[in-house]
Subunit: 340 residues, 2 copies
Amino acid sequence: MNLKQLAHMLALSQTTVSRALNGYPEVNEETRRRVMDAAKRHGYRPNPSARRLATGKTGMIGYVLPTGASVDIDPHFVEFLSGLGDYARSHELDLVLSPADADDQETTYRRIVANRQVDAVYISSPRPADRRVALVNTLGIPFIVHGRSEGFDFDYAFTDIDNEGAFHEAARLLIQLGHRRLALINGDGRETFAIHRERGVRRALAASGLTLIERHVCSVDMTEENGYRATRRLLEGDDAPTAIACSSLIMALGVVRAVRDLGLSIPGDVSLIAHDDVFPWLRPENFSVPLSTTRSSIRLAGARVAERLAARISGLEEGARGEVWPVDLVVRGSVAGAPA
Amino acid sequence: MNLKQLAHMLALSQTTVSRALNGYPEVNEETRRRVMDAAKRHGYRPNPSARRLATGKTGMIGYVLPTGASVDIDPHFVEFLSGLGDYARSHELDLVLSPADADDQETTYRRIVANRQVDAVYISSPRPADRRVALVNTLGIPFIVHGRSEGFDFDYAFTDIDNEGAFHEAARLLIQLGHRRLALINGDGRETFAIHRERGVRRALAASGLTLIERHVCSVDMTEENGYRATRRLLEGDDAPTAIACSSLIMALGVVRAVRDLGLSIPGDVSLIAHDDVFPWLRPENFSVPLSTTRSSIRLAGARVAERLAARISGLEEGARGEVWPVDLVVRGSVAGAPA
DNA sequence: CGAAAAAGCCAAAGCGCTTTGGAAGACTCT
DNA sequence: AGAGTCTTCCAAAGCGCTTTGGCTTTTTCG
């Protein structure tokens, strides 16, 4: 059942039927009702390919997925996706993942924009002066950044969490507990979130006349193994820290294992605070010693990004509004006063 | 730059240009070269929306993503996606995720087929007599099932691993080591993979005149917490098992924690074998006691599914061929002889 | 009451591609 | 040389929708 048939069966023109269905004003309400009615009764659904060719609207949002044999997709992604999908579903939006060579995403962005494959895109894990953000901005497609970039001469729309504030609070707590040597096991140091977290820790230390020594900060991919290695290196070196801030729950698994392997204990010898993105399958309260965390649901962020994308597509949201969500500091058993 | 302009500038008809570019035989090789050349020089790329309207081909593969506030997307998904994306990239395929109410995926499947939104779909985590498989089969869109369903009066194409064989081998090893009371901490018991794994364990036990008692098998969502709870329940009950087979590395984290909490040790008191889907961020050799595993890269499966989908779309693959991949049994420190 | 404005509808022209049904010219064969 | 066969190209008809421009008919208003 296509528009032509429907129009014919109603003894109306395609124009009128189309307008009736799309809510244009120049059609009699009585007629509109008839049309809507017939459309529903016959289960008419406009062919998206045709509509798309005519209007350019796709009803899809895009994400360029970096891939490659040596590229690991972050497990956070799936949780973000849960939120995004949940919102998208309620608005009949689909998500198209365009895989791209991790080293050349530009081609793919250009393609999906030139081909009008999606109505909007989002960008995740941005870095300062992220080229993707600059590119997408000039290409003129609506977009939202999940996270923040920095150092542009233009503003853009983003949804981020207060990474600096979160780690500032975490560090402050540890300092208040008497810790003087803090360490930071961070994610990829080229990404903004990691920079912000480090800044938060440094600021808290500085406020007490302390510093974060270079040996005590490491930036690694967020795997269990890297958490383990970093911790061993930290605790076996001179000036071992008495407290660790860690950027992910997965790395925290490795931290805990390393501490145990060294015959030390949490929080007796080392206090630990990790960032929790709220995975359903790994929860900080279930660690052998319940983990103190900075907590922010990445799933909610996904839903929010979808919501904003939808708003931008329909023209409800404009401008370069950035929003920063506060992060909860949840204190559990993994922190204690500094050892004597 | 569209076809019309390109044709005009070459003083050829759109027909000829189109045919030249799409490799049809009825065009002079000399002409074809000229066309290809001009196309490349001017960066001509056929508009996919138009092509799509004309041919029905989309260059996209689809996946219906169950969503909802209480629906958690499996972290395995992201690893599968890595492989799928990696292959899709090299073949200029995009993946469209259509979020659906987890309790009504049928509507979404019907929509994406009726609207011709994708050229093929894949289905994951199937159950016996899975309705999605039956539906997609009747809808007539090319598809591949990742995993297996059962109990249909038709055949279909799938890529699965030998879950039964894997857990049969694992159980056999444990039995050989003298274990008599095995337990199975399984995934969702409604899914085929879980059924097959249980069958594998039972078969191995039966071969030695043993049985898997009901109390010793549990089917739960694969979270760390569920692994913990199941293990406590198992080990604190009467007839506590001396060996555990576990369906995921994430649950195995909980198993290890529970064993430790009970003051027991692996493999001294309990042997443990888990299934490893090969996550980059959590590796069995890095468990406090290196974990024996049944190993199969879910990422490779993703790539394979993409490959087969691409083959089906282009007509290179037909028929209902199912393939079952063998699973490696990797023995590490977590298994030992049964305690006296 | 007649002109101007508004309401309601339609035919047809896109959107940019593929594909059908020729047609013109070159070549082969008897 | 004429008939038949390739080869190579083209005009035009879709694909199913939206939208422009215009045409009636009805309503409004001085």
